[in-house]
């Protein structure tokens, strides 16, 4: 059962008992993604994910704008996690343009990145809750994430698409008195999300719907190259913030959450544990951050590159490892920008998790992959 047929070949099987079902796009079970499943009675026997639905050509558009003007539109694939999705591109552009980032800007970036991770994860948790029929878990996270959205609004002026990270630092310095407000909000936020354990994670109905469904073994997790919470739920201790730290993550003390079960329950619990860890990181960063100094290297509107180069940078986002491959031919515009996104990589595991499951378990398995459809479709 470990080596399952590729989805395309599996779909060619013809049997009169087997029914083909299109789940989505715009279906409660799949979001804006189409999953073609074949069912034998109640059980899924084949699955073919079709992520393409809202393709907007981000990578092509990036070839027509310079390194600075690419910033506001490259964050669009995941608007709720816009700081993180832009992060690898910004790191890569800094290497290509040869810019040094001020120390304070690195801490501001870490704080914004962790706030965005929580904002994204709360949104995902709300969706996960409502698809399992748990209305409280839809309303609580949707309300509590407002706390952090307000914080990000104070920092960048925008509620979702911040365009705050730019090559050379961040766009604006933190507002006056931000440290105190941030500390207070984050402390309350952490206390609040710890209450979710009683109402959601210890809920017998949730446990019965997620325990031992969609089990991904450690070997298969490595083989499929999945990333983020999906990987760590299968027992692989790999977090880029610890293993390959960028900016100032190597100066912070970070605990990696790992679970061994590899089932939907573990995959849904890891992001929640990560949010508590994010609160710790924000508190550490606020303490260690230089109290004054520049947050932005001086930069021209159309900066010069240092000549032909290729860069591959990666960061750990709310969903997993985000990579950005930039090819520069020395012109002001990038020659090619390729985003390697966690949703696209985790999708490879989906057919193999769903085969053998009941159709009714599909939402709990599919949403536990921490999947953001628009990101896979770029």
């Amino acid at each position: 059962m470990t080596d399952i047929m590729p989805p395309g070949l599996a779909l060619k099987k013809v049997d009169e008992r087997i029914m083909t079902l299109n789940v989505g796009p715009q279906h409660p079970g799949s979001g804006h993604m189409r999953i073609v499943v074949q069912i034998d009675g109640d059980y899924i026997v084949a699955c073919d994910p079709d992520p393409g639905y809202v393709h907007r050509g981000e990578e092509k558009m990036a070839e027509y704008r310079n390194y600075i003007t690419n910033v506001p539109h490259l964050e669009r694939p995941v608007i709720h996690d816009s700081c993180n999705v832009l992060y690898p591109y910004v790191l890569g552009a800094e290497e290509i343009l040869g810019i040094e980032v001020p120390e304070r800007a690195k801490y501001v970036r870490v704080i914004c990145s962790e706030l965005n991770r929580c904002i994204y994860t709360m949104y995902w948790l709300a969706i996960y809750g409502i698809f399992l029929g748990h209305s409280t878990m839809f309303m609580w996270p949707a309300g509590d994430r407002e706390l952090l959205i307000d914080l990000m609004e104070k920092v960048s002026g925008a509620r979702v698409t911040h365009a705050h990270f730019i090559p050379g630092g961040v766009r604006n310095d933190l507002p006056a008195n931000f440290e105190d407000v941030c500390l207070r909000q984050v402390n309350y936020f952490e206390k609040r999300i710890k209450e979710y354990a009683a109402v959601f994670y210890d809920n017998p109905i949730l446990i019965s719907r997620t325990r031992d469904t969609g089990v991904l073994s450690r070997e298969n997790a490595i083989r499929y190259g999945v990333t983020g919470s999906v990987l760590r739920a299968s027992g692989v201790d790999y977090d880029l913030r610890v293993k390959a730290p960028y900016d100032v993550y190597d100066e912070l003390d970070i605990h990696t959450n790992v679970m061994k079960e590899g089932d939907s329950y573990a995959r849904s619990r890891i992001p929640w544990l990560d949010m508590i860890e994010s609160c710790n990181i924000i508190r550490q960063a606020l303490q260690k951050m230089p109290k004054s100094g520049s947050v932005r290297a001086k930069l021209k509107p159309n900066p010069k590159t240092k000549g032909p180069a290729t860069v591959y940078k990666r960061v750990e986002s709310g969903r997993g490892s985000l990579g950005c491959y930039i090819v520069s031919d020395g012109k002001p515009e990038p020659y090619r920008v390729k985003m390697s996104v966690p949703s696209f990589r985790n999708l490879l595991a989906l057919p193999n998790l769903l085969i053998g499951e009941k159709l009714g378990n599909m939402p709990s398995v599919y949403w536990s992959l921490n999947y953001w459809p628009v990101e896979a479709d770029r």
Partner: protein
């Protein structure tokens, strides 16, 4: 460096002073790059590859945490197998296609990483290879073909499907070369090729 070049631009805009000093930094920067010491661990990995394959692989760059290897399409499968079995890289992070119309070639770049080997956790090995490029492509039925690495790295499956769709590179041996992201009635050039221009540009 940036503060020096920024000052005249801000102060002396109407006099157009910034134009003459601009070409100067270019040769200076190139001359500085040469005596950089190569990081030892990364050098060791690239040496192993060169020792095994000799002229068949070309080392593009050896930087901290990153190694770039280039090879021909005949050897890419063997090189990938060696990278997996002997160097212990176990998964592909991404598969990217880059179009080079000037060379009449399309480059496919695999970024390989390792979850199991702790010493490689920071490392990214960039394996690139090139396929011939056709001016009037018929995706799947022209000479733009490469051997698939799906049987070596399972994780390239969707990545290779995406490159096939976006640049028209057919992967021999891939079990499932189908469309992934574009609309079902797409009948234009593969969109990430350089001769595909977006509207209004």
């Amino acid at each position: 460096m940036s503060s020096e070049s920024e000052k005249p631009a801000a102060e002396a805009k109407p006099e157009e002073k910034p134009t003459p000093p601009k070409p100067a930094p270019k040769p200076a920067a190139k001359a500085e790059e040469k005596p950089v010491e190569l990081p030892a661990f990364e050098k060791g990995i690239s040496d192993k590859l060169v020792e095994k394959f000799g002229d068949k692989v070309e080392v593009n760059f050896v930087k901290e945490d990153r190694i770039g290897i280039k090879t021909s399409r005949e050897n890419v499968h063997d090189v990938a197998q060696f990278i997996r079995d002997d160097l212990h890289y176990d998964h592909a992070e991404s598969v990217s296609g880059v179009d080079f119309p000037a060379d009449n070639e399309i480059e496919v770049v695999y970024h390989l990483g390792s979850y199991t080997e702790s010493s490689l956790a920071k490392q990214i090995l960039t394996l690139s290879t090139r396929a011939p490029r056709e001016t009037n492509p018929i995706p799947g039925q022209d000479s733009t073909k490469l051997p698939s690495l799906r049987d070596v790295f399972y994780s390239v499956e969707f990545g290779e499907r995406e490159v096939f769709e976006m640049l028209g590179v057919f992967f021999d041996g891939h079990p499932d070369n189908r469309r992934l992201l574009l609309p079902e009635d797409w009948a234009d050039l593969p969109p990430l090729r350089k001769d595909f221009a977006i509207k209004g540009r």
